[in-house]
């Protein structure tokens, strides 16, 4: 209870004007604190005896689903809800469920695990069927946000950018990808841009496993995928990871050099924006317009969930690493990524979706 009180107090201050804080407003702010706290307690009591639906926008049995189920298992209790159930609502690469969550009643009883990076790309690329604004969701918190990495075949001669340029001098460099408009296509296109050599993005693979199979066969030169997918492929000996798609090293794989240090410095803004979009990762959100106190309840329950030993133990046991981030930080991350994107990046997204 005390934790909730202080967090509310922080919020109370945040709303006050930073400059020219008069005694009157201080008194008013202080008077508001217990009031907000009491309202928040009321708002949290709302969830008692209720069933909260956590929507997973993909089929049951996959990686995304595993994260959704892990959160739902512990967050229901932290929220004080009678139940938190997972509902799989696959369709249109997650757009179907995300559109419905955007339009759902903002009472906190329907929340969704969103593939934030894919949705940001779809929105800014002007993809058909997008009926939401990623920035407008009530972000509850991020579950995982692993970086993307760049991989090559296990027997490929590629070790440096110069090796890629050498291949590019002889023939087209082949970069694998799933269909146009998929998050993998966008990273593939960016990769094609930053390597500055003759290259072709080969689309049409059904998913990362099939691209890795082709990489292992030696049909392709490069592929950008999530770190966990690349690590699985490394173990299956169908890939060798080269670089992290970003500007910082990944603590679990310190030997991997960030792409920003490999390619020309002029591409730094492109790589930075893509890295922060990817960092938004798999995040939990409620529909826009939810009462701030109720959102705070959800955020607090989420923070407690992802900090609990039981949750972290399960994440380790299932080999599903989590990198939690508070709802406020996710909202900021998405705001920066969407508002500060360079024109070149937006053009590329646009081209990916409306070609």
């Amino acid at each position: 209870m005390a934790g909730t009180f202080f967090k509310q107090a922080e919020n109370g201050r945040a709303f006050a004007p930073a400059k020219g804080l008069s005694t009157l407003s201080l008194v008013a702010a202080l008077a508001l604190v217990p009031l907000t706290a009491a309202r928040a307690a009321d708002e949290c009591a709302f969830f008692k005896d209720k069933t909260v639906e956590l929507v997973v926008p993909f089929s049951a049995g996959g990686g995304f689903d595993a994260y959704g189920r892990m959160v739902a298992k512990y967050m229901g209790d932290e929220l004080g809800a009678a139940n938190m159930i997972v509902r799989n609502q696959p369709g249109a690469g997650g757009l179907l469920a995300t559109n419905q969550t955007w339009a759902a009643k903002p009472d906190g009883l329907r929340i969704q695990l969103i593939a934030a990076s894919g949705m940001i790309a779809a929105e800014f690329g002007g993809a058909a069927g997008v009926a939401f604004k990623t920035n407008g969701f009530s972000w509850i918190g991020r579950v995982s946000g692993e970086p993307d990495v760049i991989a090559t075949g296990p027997d490929s001669p590629i070790k440096s950018l110069a090796d890629i340029a050498k291949i590019g001098g002889e023939r087209t460099v082949r970069i694998g990808s799933t269909g146009l408009g998929s998050p993998q296509y966008i990273t593939a296109r960016l990769l094609a841009t930053v390597i500055e050599t003759k290259s072709q993005v080969i689309t049409g693979f059904s998913g990362a496993p099939e691209v890795f199979a082709s990489l292992g066969r030696g049909d392709l030169d490069l592929f950008a995928s999530s770190l966990s997918a690349a690590e699985a492929a490394e173990k299956a000996q169908t890939a060798r990871t080269l670089w992290v798609f970003g500007t910082e090293r990944e603590p679990s794989r310190p030997e991997l050099v960030p792409l920003s240090e490999v390619v020309d410095a002029k591409f730094l803004p492109l790589i930075t924006v893509q890295a922060s979009v990817t960092a938004a990762g798999r995040a939990l959100a409620a529909p826009p317009g939810i009462a701030p106190e109720r959102l705070q309840c959800l955020r607090d329950a989420f923070d407690r969930t992802v900090a609990s030993t039981a949750f972290l133990d399960e994440s380790r046991q299932l080999n599903r690493p989590v990198e939690p981030l508070s709802g406020k930080r996710v909202a900021e991350l998405i705001k920066t990524a969407t508002e500060g994107a360079p024109k070149e990046y937006l053009d590329l997204l646009h081209e990916s979706f409306t070609q």
Partner: protein, 502 residues
């Protein structure tokens, strides 16, 4: 190697694994019998229960559950004409007519035994391929997969014998259905009419349930009689004869099993296509192709022997390089990662015992399900004597639930209902349904692999040795079908001439 074979067996036979396998088999039995609610859905729902189990326990539970669904799905197909699984549609074609003639016992006996034989063939294919598994899997790239889908499409011809034009039209209709959804290369929605539900294409499960189950339910509603009708004898006999039939037609079953194991390897194709290729092949080689679709025992055995064999085949690329061949192997792949295993060379060296345990689980679970199902056959076959008006409401609930369950959406129920309408029209005016399904499943893959082949290799993919071999096979199958059809027509003409003269 032999150590790993034995160690795999002993670990599967441990009390804990066996108990988990029995639970898995029980769940698989029930979901297999229920139309639509199939192996993948059950596995996805049960996956969280495996958290924290050692790998062999996980596979005993999940794989045990999966492999029995094809067998029990066939039971529903025989009894009610509604495929219990998407892979049991071919079983409907001959199994159900047998049930309507009052031969449900014989059909069930044949289906059970051929399923077991098929499963053993699939498991052996997996077991024997282990030493050469990686080179084999890596030898097959998009061009080879494309040619295999072409071979599959050619079977539309043998499935349409006697009504070639209608078969071709239905096959084209299937290809058109496959076009619906996001274009795999350009990412543009095709024929989606602004509906996000259509972006992922039309689901094959609701199509199969509607197309094959719909007409049967309607017939049952209209006739107001039991499935077996009034005329048939009320005694259920012939289970033993059905089992014997499997061995009498061992060649049909073995070839069907091999086709299943082979096609199971191709990512994305799976049992819904393999069953019809095996069925088409059996029809082509049978001495009595005209009996197919009217209760032919060869046709039933081919369908039964095929759909259990594909599970072994589908495991091959998953174990070798982590490439799942079907929805259920994708879920198994997740189970791999959860239990800390990595597909690839590890599965062929340090964890070879786990790989062999999968071979054993496939065999043992199939033996157990046959033993469990045998005493249940008589009471189950008795259901075909239940009056239509009592049975129909239950069947309707099952097909609606089954269509809904895969993606939790109403839209799929409409797809099922539309397919049921098409199915009724096909049955009434004698249009073949299998080509439509073949086109719908293969069209999408055929297009994707062709595009990938050409963007990876230009035109040089045509010169790849395996592509040439498969192309020759495709042409040979086409000619053989054409030859058989002509010969059959000539024989019939000669026979009718003889009749006229006499």
């Amino acid at each position: 190697m032999l150590d790993a074979v034995l160690s795999g067996l002993l670990q599967v036979l441990s009390p804990d694994s066996m108990m988990l396998m029995m639970i898995g088999i029980f769940i698989g039995f029930v979901v297999g019998v229920l139309p639509g609610i199939g192996g993948p859905v059950a596995m996805a729902l049960m996956l969280p229960f495996t958290f924290g189990m050692p790998p062999i326990h996980v596979f005993a539970f999940l794989l045990g559950m999966k492999v029995v669904t094809s067998t029990t799905g066939d039971i529903t197909a025989v009894l009610f004409g509604i495929p219990g699984e998407a892979t049991s549609a071919a079983t409907v074609l001959d199994g159900h007519p047998m049930a309507r003639k009052g031969q449900a016992g014989r059909a069930l006996g044949a289906v059970l035994m051929s399923s077991l034989v098929g499963a053993i063939i699939g498991a052996l294919a997996l077991g024997l391929s282990i030493p050469v598994i990686r080179p084999i899997v890596l030898a097959f790239g998009p061009p080879e997969f494309f040619m295999l889908t072409v071979v599959g499409l050619i079977f539309i011809a043998s499935l349409s014998r006697g009504q070639m034009l209608r078969g071709l039209i239905m096959g084209c209709l299937g290809l058109l259905i496959a076009l619906v959804g996001i274009d795999p290369q350009a990412g543009v929605p095709r024929y989606a009419f602004g509906q996000l539900e259509l972006w992922d294409g039309i689901g094959i499960v609701p199509v199969v349930i509607g197309l094959f189950g719909g007409p049967e339910i309607l017939q049952l509603m209209l006739s107001k009689e039991s499935i077996a009708g009034k005329s048939a004898s009320r005694k259920i006999v012939g289970v033993g004869q059905g089992i014997l039939d499997t061995f009498r037609y061992w060649k049909t079953v073995a070839v069907a099993g091999l086709i299943g194991a082979g096609i199971g390897v191709i990512p994305g194709v799976g049992g819904s296509v393999a069953q019809f290729i095996a069925y088409g092949h059996a029809k082509q080689t049978s001495k009595h192709p005209e009996e197919f679709g009217k209760g032919s025992i060869d046709g039933l055995l081919a369908a039964g022997g095929n759909n259990n064999a594909k599970d072994g085949g589908a495991l091959i690329p998953m174990i070798a390089i982590g490439l799942p061949g079907s929805v259920s192997t994708a879920i198994l792949l997740n189970a791999f990662l959860i239990s800390g295993l990595n597909p690839g060379p590890e599965m062929l060296t340090t964890h070879l015992d786990v790989t062999f345990s999968m071979v054993w689980i496939t065999i043992i679970a199939n033996i157990i399900v046959v033993i469990l199902a045998l005493p249940l056959l008589k009471p189950l076959a008795r259901l075909t004597f239940t009056e239509g008006p009592i049975l129909v409401p239950f069947l309707l609930i099952l097909v609606v639930l089954g269509a809904y369950a895969e993606n939790n959406r109403m839209f799929d129920i409409w797809v099922m209902a539309t397919s049921a309408f098409v199915g009724v029209v096909c049955l009434r005016w004698n249009w073949p349904r299998a080509p439509l399904l073949l086109g719908a499943v293969l069209g999408d893959l055929c297009e994707r692999y062709l595009f990938l082949s050409s963007s990876l290799y230009g035109w040089s993919w045509i010169q790849r040795p395996l592509v040439i071999v498969l192309a020759i096979a495709a042409v040979a199958i086409l000619f053989k079908t054409g030859w058989d059809v002509r010969k059959h027509a000539r024989d019939r003409q000669a026979a009718s001439l003889k009749e006229v003269r006499s």
